[in-house]
Amino acid sequence: MTAPLSSAEWEIIALSLQVSIFAIGLALPVAYGIAWLLARRRFPGRFILDGVVHLPLILPPVVTGYVLLLLFGRNGPIGGVLDDVFGISLTFSWLGAALAGAVMALPLMVRAIRLSIEAVDQKLINAAKTLGASRWRAFATITLPLSLPGILAGTVLGFARSIGEFGATITFVSNIAGETRTLPLAIYNALQIPGTDIQVARLAILSVLLSLGALLLSEWLVRRSDRDSAHVV
């Protein structure tokens, strides 16, 4: 890349970051809650929840986008309410793109977090309870920090997925410059035009750099939290 970034490219990057950060902020607490339920509770409908969470992974992204459109479109059951009551419209808006990113990232985040929660030793939680910890405090002080590796892994996976999300986004919120044209949609646009290989490559490299930034950050956080136990044999 010899030339500095054009202002159009900056706009796309800013939008992609905004959409993905919002998507992860939206998905993370939901993913943690679901992961915790699946890891720690046996309840009727558990398997159904497990299955539903995986749907955005199983279905082709365009189908997920279509389902989002049916549900959150202005004529859909949820979208209608949002529109009438709050005046929020998700289709054709970056909020909708963030929702699509969140939904697509969810199964990846749930799995990673769940793995880490399942690895937390129940004996430690019992020890916390003998020391007077409520279920909530035991969760906040033991389960949550000990599942940090899963949270970080899930966040990296989810962020990367949402930076790369194309099919569900274009189907749900279309492809409007400055509003829903994230990096993958801009790449799609460029791919439609002959002789744009350099433009495609530039945009692809930008996607990669954004995600690698997140990756680097997470590796650093993991290493920081590991520091003390480096010498245990």
Binding site: L69, N189, L191, Q192
Partner: protein, 227 residues
């Protein structure tokens, strides 16, 4: 945040991206607010319109979706404007002999749009059928996801021959192309529809502009023809 004034929202098939963006520049240069575009597949756009997403103009290369929307939205046929047309070519990696429907019949792999789902493929099927070649070529057809996908596979030499839009094939150095008679398939027409939900004051103006003689010149430069 102060928002810039915006022109009408145009939901358009991706294949029209280049001429439409050039037309938009001319339109804006003439003192109008810049129109907003969303380029995606005709199916994706039609479903967004059907599910209540706002928009002013729909431009499609796919007759089926235009018909579907006009029927579902009670749009009078008079609201549908043909803005451009296209033709087909037989294409092959550049070589000594120019491709033809006959050399195509000898190819091992023939790429075109999906013959069920992608308009290019449906037109290609009609043309092959008319030339009595459908039964022999069908097993060799590679269904690409879009006209653009078919072009890429041919340009990279992954296949021996293909049927493409003239607008896509023109100017690609690595391939040679021969026109296919227009009569051998249904006319290829791009249609613009003013959507019932449209409230933008410039909608009619922009529709008129992209159907105007000046617009034809632009479409022509990208290999499209008069509708």
């Amino acid at each position: 945040v102060p928002t810039e004034p915006r022109g009408p929202l145009v939901l358009a098939a991706s294949s029209l991206q280049q001429p439409l963006e050039e037309l938009a520049e001319q339109w804006t240069a003439a003192g109008n607010d810049p129109p907003q575009f969303s380029f995606a597949s005709s199916a994706a756009l039609a479903r967004q319109i059907e599910n209540g997403s706002a928009g002013d103009i729909f431009i499609s290369a796919d007759r089926q979706w235009t018909d579907y929307l006009t029927k579902a939205g009670n749009i009078a046929p008079s609201e549908v404007v043909a803005i451009a047309g296209n033709t087909l070519v037989v294409a092959a990696p550049a070589g000594p002999t120019p491709p033809s429907l006959q050399t195509l019949a000898q190819a091992n792999r023939i790429v075109t749009g999906d013959t069920q789902a992608v308009p290019l493929g449906r037109y290609a099927k009609e043309a092959l059928t008319a030339a009595n070649l459908w039964d022999s070529t069908e097993p060799k057809i590679i269904n690409a996801a879009s006209a653009r996908g078919a072009l890429v596979k041919l340009a990279r030499g992954e296949v021996d021959a293909g049927i493409l839009y003239t607008s896509d094939a023109q100017g690609v150095e690595t391939i040679a192309a021969t026109p296919i008679p227009r009569e051998s398939h249904s006319p290829i027409v791009y249609m613009a529809v003013k959507l019932p939900a449209s409230a933008h004051p410039d909608t009619d103006g922009f529709l008129g502009f992209i159907a105007s003689p000046e617009a034809v010149k632009v479409f022509d430069r990208y290999g499209f023809i008069r509708p």
